[in-house]
Structure formats: structure tokens, C-alpha cells
């Protein structure tokens, strides 16, 4: 038997012991890979996403990686704890430290490779599933599955060294202990945690400071970093220090502490404060990131309302525009190349501003108005009055007051009473229809512009030519001489892009949620063996099945929902900042919906895990 064979047999013949470690590693790889696959997706590479969103996602990927490290470390130390006595035996048999290192490194590499393969396969399957399901939810074309060379490279390149490094790290744990304590293994019980008053106060201060800053401070990059750091440190101290105080208070209340199973779960929580603190901390932060990301990205979905135009494309040319004819020909060429039957209309209109904010409006004569909207004929336009097509409120302020519009005319204002206000006609501007006399009056002091409108079928499919025309006329940013608008682009920006960002938000949310869920899961099931033993001996002295279930329920509920609650609070503050400073006006609404959604998921997850956990306990303890 060679040494690698020994390592291999160690794993394959004791699969159960390695299973939790292997599964948790696979899970970490899977999540990382799925996300990498998403970031490097060709559909997202080509222009859909702006740079900031992209950077945010790369940042999220590294967050995932950092938590993967913590996660793998956590499971590796739990795993080694169960094997300490084995290392003790090997040492007694004369295995040198070098050989032990080789053994552990080999084992880790075997398991690492296996979990990388599993994670990548699982990630691919799950990604496909999610791309399909997600696109169904947000009503967009499903993202295609592609061959993710980059994602593969990064995943393997990042995780293989991690497994090798972690195995070196675990050796420190083993070398630092005497053979005797290795042989005794995990029997050695932990000491009761001590909490320090200064640290507890510090924790309160950090948490309070972070939340306070989030409420009142002006937000720039510096303060955002400070808030994040404060909250992160505060969260950790909250779990490692403050929780001890709360538990001590509970213990001091003898009436409560000494009732039924309270004694059991309170002392158990106290005993495991250190383990729990790390876990709760990770889960809280990860969940808060998930909720905030999803909540924010989900706002795009509800932020825009489509403004329906009568025309598929609108082209507005000012008198200063020298290229008007060339641009018009370009548009017509595009239609001909695509064999699109179109109808073109041309109007001379007045562009002017209204009110104190100089909000632009296109003024149309009644004669042309009837051409656009024949229904105008039925409602007779009174002399000196106008019909307005647009919205009275825009981005928070009122455009029209008292059914009157004040139009700019030779640096003076001309008030026109509005006969009625109708739904918007065009997407470029609001429209005002007035009688010929008023039109002529306005003509004197304002610029006359040419308005072209195009109608054709199948607007939403013509994003590419719309984009081409847009680039040709408007260019990258702005053309002072001409305006252009297209339903296809509008639809993309108001429906598809928000859908895409909602989809990304969901994806990030689900990934982080899965990560948090898997932390909880593996925590529960690595402890299961000890818990079973504990309950079995308690059963002997008369703990009933009902009491056991109740106790396990309380412990699990705390595990599942305490970090969740803190994550909700943190998300609330984060969303508050975004609403105040980031210009996301209705971020709270989508935040609440997001959190409710996640709460539902968490509940479902809790119910499923709880039932299998309790079933396992019952079978072992009460047969």
C-alpha cells in the first residue's frame, strides 16, 4: 500500500466522516462557479450592463469567495475534530509530522478535486435551471447556457490552492496539540465563554454608530465604508458579546430558566456562543447583502412606467440641424434594408418651455392635431384654449397648475387655459394642441421644428435598427440639433433592462441565500451526532419525545431566524440610505416585498430541514 493509496482508502472507506466536508466544499464551489458563470455570460459582456453594476458583481463574487474560505475552514475544523484520535493513533504508530502533512494534504486535494468537479457540474445544472426559471419570472428571454471557459478557469484556479492552503493551516491545529489530547479527541469539553463589558459596550457603539450614520450622515464613499465597517464589527460583537449578556440575564431569572426545557436550550446556547457567533455573523451579513441587492435591483422594475406613444419612432429636427435630410434618408434606408413597411408623417411644430422650470412642450396647431388624432374633431377646441397630452405630475413636481400652462414667448409668459388633459401622445415630449391663431402668435417668438413620425408593425423586434438610428442621429450622448425616440429602445429600457436587473438581483439574492442556508445546514448536521447522544442520555432520565422536539425546535428556530432578523434590520438601514441618497424613490416597497419573499423561502427551508432533523433525532433516540 503506497501512501497515496492509504490516503485514498482513508477517504473511500470512511465516506460518512468525509461526507459533510465534501458536500460543504462542493456547495461553496458550486455557488462560486454559478456566480462566475453569470458574470462572464456573453449576454452580459456585450453592453447590457454598465460598468458600475459589473464592478458590483465582481465585488459580490469576491465576497462569496471570502465566505467560501470561512465556510471551508469551518467545515474542515469540524471535520478534523472528529478525526483527532485517528491522528493521535498515527502519531503513536510513528508517523512523522511530514507524513501526516502529506496524508492530510493528499486527502484535502482528493476531496478538493472531487468537490470542484461536483460543484461545477451542480453549478451548471442549477444555473441552467435558474436561467430558465428566472427568465420566466421576470419575463425575458432565457439566458443561454454557454461553455464558461473563464468561469471554469477562475473557479479551479481559486479553489485548488485554497484546499492545499487550508490543509497546511489545519496542520497547525494538530501540531500544536500533545499526542494525549489528540487521542482523547473531541471528548474535551469547551469552557464557558466570558464576556467583557468594554467589548459589549464597544459592540453597541459600533452597531448604534453604524445605524446612526446610516440615518443622518451624508453619504459619500468614505462614510459608506465607515458605516459598513461599523456595522460588520458591531454585528460580530453583538453575537459574541452582547448575546452572552442576554443569556446571562435569562439565566439569572430562575423562574424562567428553571422551567421545563428552558434550562436545556439556554445553557446550550451559552455553551456554544463562540461557534454560534461566527455562524450568526456570517449568515447575517450574507443575508443582508442578499436582501439589499435584490431589493435595490428590484426597484428598477417598478421605477419606470411605459409611456405609450402613437408612433414607433419619433424624430425631431431643429432648424439648426444641417444633416436633417441625410438623417432622414438614413432612417428610410434602415427600413428598406429590413423590408419594413412604414408610414411617415411630417409636422411643423413649436418647441417651447412652460412654467418656471421651463418644462419642454411641443405645440401643435389644431389642423395638424386632427391629422394625428382624428378624435379631436368631436371635442371642439375653444378659441384661445388648448388640449394637453401629457402628465400633470412628473418626477415629483407639478407641471400644470389649475389647468393652465404658462408658455415662454419672447421672454414673457403666455397663459393658456387647458380645455382638457389627455394621456400622452408622444414619448419625446408632452404635446399641446392650440387653435391656428394662438399657434401663429406663438410662432413669432419661438423656434419652429420639424417633427417626423414613423409607424410600422412589430416595434419591439426592431431594437437593433432603432439602436443604429439612435447612434447615427443622437450619437453617444446628446445632439443639440436633433432628438430621436423609439418604442423598441424605450421598451428595452423600461421593461427589459429592469427585468434584467431584477433577474440579476434575484440571482445574487438566491445565491447568497443558498450560501447562508448551507452554513446553517452543515452546522446542524455536523452537530447532529453529539445532539443525538445528548438526547439519548436525556431520554434515559425521562426526557419525553415531546420535550425533545420542543427543545430542538427552539434551538433551530433561533439558529434560523435570529441572524435573519438582524439581517432585516441591517437591510432596512441600507435601503434607507439608498432611498435618501441613491435616488431610488420606492426602494422600501420593493425591499419589503423582497424581505417577505425571502422570509417565505426561509420558513419553507426551516420547515423542511426541521422535519428531517427531528425525524433523524426521533429515530435514533426513541426508535
Amino acid at each position: 500500500m503506497t501512501f497515496p493509496q492509504f490516503a485514498y482508502k482513508n477517504i473511500t472507506r470512511n465516506l460518512r466522516a468525509y461526507l459533510a466536508f465534501y458536500l460543504s466544499s462542493s456547495f461553496a464551489v458550486m455557488i462560486f462557479f454559478m456566480f462566475a458563470m453569470f458574470i462572464f455570460h456573453p449576454a452580459l459582456e456585450t453592453g447590457y450592463m454598465n460598468n458600475i453594476a459589473k464592478k458590483g458583481m465582481v465585488f459580490a463574487e469576491w465576497v462569496i469567495f471570502v465566505f467560501s474560505i470561512l465556510f471551508v475552514l469551518y467545515s474542515v475544523s469540524a471535520f478534523l475534530k472528529t478525526r483527532k484520535s485517528e491522528f493521535g493513533i498515527l502519531t503513536i504508530q510513528g508517523a512523522s509530522p511530514k507524513q501526516l502533512r502529506l496524508l492530510i494534504t493528499l486527502e484535502n486535494v482528493f476531496i478538493g478535486l472531487a468537490s470542484i468537479v461536483t460543484g461545477i457540474i451542480g453549478g451548471t445544472v442549477l444555473a441552467k435551471l435558474f436561467f430558465t426559471a428566472g427568465s420566466y419570472i421576470v419575463e425575458m428571454e432565457p439566458l443561454e447556457l454557454y461553455f464558461p471557459l473563464k468561469a471554469l478557469g477562475i473557479t479551479i484556479g481559486v479553489f485548488l490552492p485554497l484546499f492545499v492552503l487550508i490543509s497546511q493551516f489545519t496542520l497547525f491545529i494538530i501540531h500544536s496539540e500533545e499526542v494525549v489530547s489528540l487521542l482523547k479527541g473531541s471528548v474535551k469539553p469547551k469552557r464557558e465563554p466570558k464576556s467583557s463589558i468594554p467589548f459589549s459596550i464597544l459592540g453597541m457603539m459600533f452597531l448604534g454608530g453604524g445605524f446612526g450614520l446610516a440615518l443622518f450622515a451624508g453619504i459619500d464613499i468614505g462614510s459608506a465604508v465607515i458605516i459598513t465597517v461599523c456595522t460588520v464589527i458591531g454585528t460580530y460583537l453583538f453575537y459574541s458579546q452582547l448575546s452572552v449578556w442576554v443569556l446571562k440575564l435569562l439565566k439569572r431569572n430562575k423562574k424562567f430558566y428553571r422551567k421545563g426545557t428552558n434550562l436545556l436550550w439556554i445553557s446550550d446556547l451559552m455553551y456554544r456562543v463562540k461557534d454560534n457567533a461566527r455562524l450568526f455573523f456570517i449568515v447575517s451579513i450574507v443575508s443582508a447583502v442578499a436582501f439589499t441587492a435584490t431589493g435595490t435591483l428590484a426597484t428598477y422594475k417598478s421605477m419606470f412606467t411605459t409611456e405609450d406613444s402613437l408612433y414607433e419612432m419619433e424624430f425631431l429636427s431643429y432648424s439648426s440641424n444641417k444633416d436633417e435630410n441625410e438623417q432622414l434618408t438614413y432612417i428610410q434606408q434602415q427600413f428598406e434594408q429590413k423590408n419594413i413597411d412604414y408610414e411617415q408623417s411630417k409636422f411643423k411644430v413649436i418647441e417651447t418651455g412652460q412654467g418656471s422650470s421651463n418644462y419642454p412642450v411641443l405645440v401643435l396647431s389644431y389642423k395638424d392635431g386632427i391629422k394625428i388624432l382624428p378624435e379631436l374633431k368631436t371635442s371642439k377646441l375653444e378659441e384661445g384654449k388648448g388640449v394637453y397630452f401629457g402628465q400633470t405630475e412628473r418626477e415629483g413636481y407639478t407641471v400644470l397648475q389649475d389647468n393652465t400652462t404658462d408658455l415662454q414667448l419672447n421672454n414673457q409668459q403666455m397663459s393658456i387655459k387647458l380645455q382638457s388633459i389627455e394621456q400622452p401622445l408622444l414619448s419625446l415630449h408632452d404635446v399641446l394642441v392650440v387653435d391656428e391663431n394662438t399657434f401663429n402668435l406663438l410662432k413669432q417668438g419661438n423656434e419652429l421644428v420639424t417633427f417626423y413620425a414613423f409607424q410600422f408593425a412589430n416595434s419591439k423586434e426592431n431594437l437593433d435598427i432603432s439602436q443604429k438610428i439612435h447612434d447615427h442621429i443622437v450619437g453617444e450622448t446628446y445632439n443639440p440639433d436633433a432628438r430621436y425616440s423609439s418604442k423598441a429602445i424605450e421598451y428595452y429600457q423600461t421593461v427589459q433592462l429592469p427585468s434584467l436587473s431584477l433577474f440579476i438581483g434575484l440571482f445574487i439574492g438566491i445565491i447568497f441565500f443558498l450560501a447562508a442556508g448551507s452554513f446553517l445546514y452543515f452546522r446542524l448536521f455536523t452537530d447532529l451526532y453529539e445532539e443525538r447522544k445528548k438526547y439519548k442520555s436525556l431520554a434515559k432520565i425521562g426526557l419525553s419525545e415531546k420535550e425533545m422536539v420542543k427543545n430542538a425546535n427552539i434551538q433551530m428556530a433561533i439558529l434560523f431566524f435570529l441572524p435573519f432578523l438582524l439581517a432585516i434590520v441591517e437591510t432596512g438601514f441600507a435601503l434607507q440610505v439608498l432611498q435618501r441618497e441613491g435616488g431610488f424613490s420606492n426602494v422600501f416597497q420593493s425591499g419589503v416585498i423582497t424581505i417577505l419573499g425571502f422570509l417565505g423561502l426561509q420558513l419553507l427551508y426551516f420547515i423542511v430541514i426541521r422535519s428531517s432533523y427531528i425525524k433523524n433525532l426521533k429515530e435514533y433516540v426513541y426508535r
Binding site: 469552557r191 432520565i541 425521562g542 419525553s544
Partner: protein
């Protein structure tokens, strides 16, 4: 005196690939206040017998009657209540919870019963003084010796004044000095409180504290010995039976008197 424990025609067969009859037609009675020992070589069925009496395991046939009740006919919930109220347990590996202090370990059965906190304090105080562990109540399990742990476990087992105290190798993990302490503690409880006890043990010196010792071999009753007036004579009698029983000489731990 009334019999606290009646064991009648008890059989236990383990199913599986190789069917194994662990106990065959075991019958004996234990009177109120009696301290009875069960001995036998490894694999003789001692622990199986204890598990059946303690209701942790179910017999294939036969009856166990504790204080007039048949616990094996009780429903699950009632069974836990029965164990909690009528039985007390002392284990070889103590079965104390690391998460609790010694005091909390002792009061655990009472808190499960939802006894008033003040009354708990009184009972804990009384019992720990009696057992000489009242000075270490706030310590944790890893801070005290094996003997102290076992006395804590005994305190937990008797704090609710059970009808029957069951002990499974209570000295198995202890050195001779601690074993002696623990056995004297058990004997004192037996004499003062008239608590009925049944103890399974390997250790002839521990068994010599009993009133009567039942020997089991290959799942059958083999012999029984009553204590006269002298513990040393009783100890010698036990050794004699054990040597007749045969079995593994390692089972007889070195003489500890």
C-alpha cells in the same frame, strides 16, 4: 415486604442475520429497600437485562413489573413520565451534560417536572449536603473528578425520590478510592432513604456492598448469593462464584479492598 420489582420469564431475542438470544427465562423479585447486584462475564446479558428493566429496550416476551405497573405497556409519552418519576439512573459514563453546571445537572429532572424554583433549591441543597458535593455545585463537569461526577449523577438520580434506582457499572470508570466513595454513597442512600437499588457491575468489591448478588451466565440465571453480616466474607463468596462462572479472567478487576 412488597416487591418493588418483579421480573417474570423475561426473554430477549435480537433479530438480524444471526439471531441471538440475549436473555432466557429470567425471573426474580426485588423487595422494597433491597440493594441488589447483577454480575456476570462480558456478554452474559447484564446490560440487556438492565435496559429491559429501565424500559429503554423492549422484551421479546415476559414481564417487568415496577411498583405494580407494567411500564412496557405504557404509551411513549407516559413512558417518559414513568421513567422520570419512578426510576433513577446512574451510568458508567455519568451522562452529565457538559453544558450545565453540576447544580443544573442535578436539578434537571425537577425542572422537567416544572417544580417550583424555591423548592428546587431546597431539594438540591439537602441532597448535595448529604452526598458531600455542596461545595462544588457551580463547577462544570470538566472541572471535577470522576468520583465527584458520579456522586453528582447519583444526586440527579435520587433527587425526585424514585421507587427504583438503576445503576449500570457505576464504578466502571473510577479509580479504587472513588469507587469506594461512590459505593458507600449508594449504600448510605439505600440504608437511610430505603431506596430500592439494582446495580449491574463487573467489580466484585462494588458488588460486596449489595444485600444480594444475582449471577447471570449466557443469558440465564446462574446463581445468587446473600450477604451475611460481614462484607469481607461476602466479597470472598462473590469471588468464589465468579471463579466458578469462568469467563474472562480480565473481568475480575484486581482486588480493591
Amino acid at each position: 415486604m412488597a416487591d418493588v420489582l418483579q421480573v417474570q420469564d423475561l426473554n430477549k431475542i435480537y433479530d438480524g442475520k444471526a439471531i441471538f438470544q440475549a436473555l432466557t427465562n429470567i425471573t426474580f423479585n426485588v423487595e422494597k429497600g433491597e440493594f441488589i447486584g447483577v454480575m456476570g462475564p462480558s456478554g452474559s446479558g447484564k446490560t440487556t437485562l438492565l435496559n429491559l428493566i429501565s424500559t429503554i429496550d423492549r422484551p421479546t416476551s415476559g414481564q417487568v413489573i415496577v411498583n405494580g405497573q407494567e411500564p412496557h405497556k405504557l404509551k411513549k409519552g407516559k413512558l417518559a413520565e414513568f421513567r422520570r418519576k419512578e426510576l433513577g439512573f446512574v451510568f458508567q459514563d455519568f451522562n452529565l451534560l457538559d453544558t450545565l453546571t453540576l447544580e443544573e445537572n442535578i436539578m434537571l429532572p425537577l425542572t422537567l417536572e416544572r417544580v417550583d424554583s424555591g423548592e428546587i433549591d431546597k431539594k438540591v441543597q439537602a441532597i448535595t449536603q448529604k452526598l458531600g458535593i455542596d461545595s462544588i455545585l457551580n463547577k462544570r463537569t470538566y472541572e471535577v473528578s470522576g468520583g465527584q461526577k458520579q456522586r453528582t449523577a447519583i444526586a440527579r438520580a435520587i433527587i425526585h425520590q424514585p421507587f427504583l434506582l438503576l445503576a449500570d457499572e457505576p464504578t466502571g470508570n473510577l479509580d479504587s478510592k472513588s469507587s469506594k466513595d461512590v459505593m458507600q454513597t449508594l449504600q448510605m442512600i439505600n440504608e437511610k432513604d430505603k431506596t430500592t437499588m439494582l446495580m449491574v457491575t463487573h467489580d466484585p468489591s462494588a458488588a460486596s456492598y449489595c444485600d444480594r448478588v444475582i449471577f447471570i451466565k449466557d443469558g440465564k440465571l446462574y446463581n445468587e448469593v446473600y450477604k451475611g453480616t460481614n462484607q469481607k466474607v461476602f466479597f470472598q463468596q462473590i469471588l468464589d462464584v465468579l471463579s466458578m462462572l469462568g469467563g474472562d479472567p480480565d473481568d475480575l478487576s484486581t482486588v480493591r479492598l
